[in-house]
């Protein structure tokens, strides 16, 4: 009997404390997840960098440097029928200040002034970046399509 059920998307879930020491392990896990699902090194690297920057923003701005607050990271592969391409979607949930980094007024980017590089990475490297305010924090969803 043919299997007509929709395949369950592959997924990964990580729960970490908001300690900067945890960023590297989370990044490595996400890069391995992307690689293991055929997204290739360049996309895995871009995803890892963007997740790194998003987690750093959570630690610095949502949790104001506190190292013992929760961060929930979920990654999943969204299959697609041709000609559409599969997507890799990562959500990062925090229970912090709820400030939307993308909505903050900012000066035009100046390479010689520290700051702003993280958001530029997200905007340039990901296909979609959505901040969804929650009653008790923020949900960031970043999506990368397989080339």
């Amino acid at each position: 009997m043919p299997n007509t059920a929709t395949p369950k998307p592959a997924s990964l879930e990580l729960k970490i404390d908001s300690d900067a020491a945890n960023i590297a392990a989370a990044r490595h896990a996400l890069e391995a997840f992307a690689n293991n699902h055929g997204f290739g090194d360049p996309i895995a690297a871009e995803l890892g960098l963007c997740a790194n920057e998003a987690l750093a923003n959570v630690i610095r701005h949502a949790y104001l440097g506190a190292s013992d607050r929760p961060i929930l990271i979920r990654a999943e592969i969204l299959p697609a029928l041709p000609p559409a391409t599969p997507e890799l979607r990562v959500t990062i949930r925090d229970w912090g200040t709820g400030i939307n980094p993308a909505a903050q007024p900012r000066k035009p980017y100046d390479p010689l002034t520290p700051g702003g590089v993280g958001l530029i990475c997200l905007q340039k490297l990901m296909d979609d970046v959505i901040y969804t305010p929650q009653p008790d924090g923020m949900l960031l969803t970043i999506t990368k399509r397989k080339c």
Partner: protein, 119 residues
């Protein structure tokens, strides 16, 4: 050719040659350890007030924006006295981030230490 002790494994080797400081950086650098890099670069490598700081990044497979911020802060400091920072032996991910941050044309990039020393 005095050696400089940075006190961190992130910068395991550094030396002064005249008005130039040459240092090797090692490891993945993110928000967790970039403060260590900042201390080593600003408090040790720039203390002799070099005209030229050469950072060999051959052993840095990855850095994030917090490391970039350290480099930019160092560049600002060096520029105030007319100095320059050379970044050598860039790995692809580091080079890619510098390009995204539009810093590839602001720092002086060199193939290796030898090229940086002759520029």
């Amino acid at each position: 050719m005095p050696d400089l002790n940075t006190g961190t494994d992130l910068v395991p080797a550094a030396r002064q040659e005249g008005d130039t400081v040459v240092a090797s950086v090692r490891g993945e650098i993110d928000l967790h350890n970039s403060p260590e890099l900042r201390t080593a670069v600003l408090d040790v490598l720039l203390k002799p007030n070099p005209r030229k700081l050469v950072l060999n990044l051959s052993q840095v497979p990855y850095m994030d924006s917090s490391a970039i911020a350290v480099l930019v802060e160092a560049l600002q400091k060096v520029r105030r006295t007319g100095g320059r920072i050379f970044l050598t032996d860039l790995q692809p991910r580091v080079k890619g981030l510098l390009e995204i941050a539009r810093l590839d044309s602001i720092f002086t990039l060199a193939k290796d230490e030898k090229e940086a020393m002759t520029k």
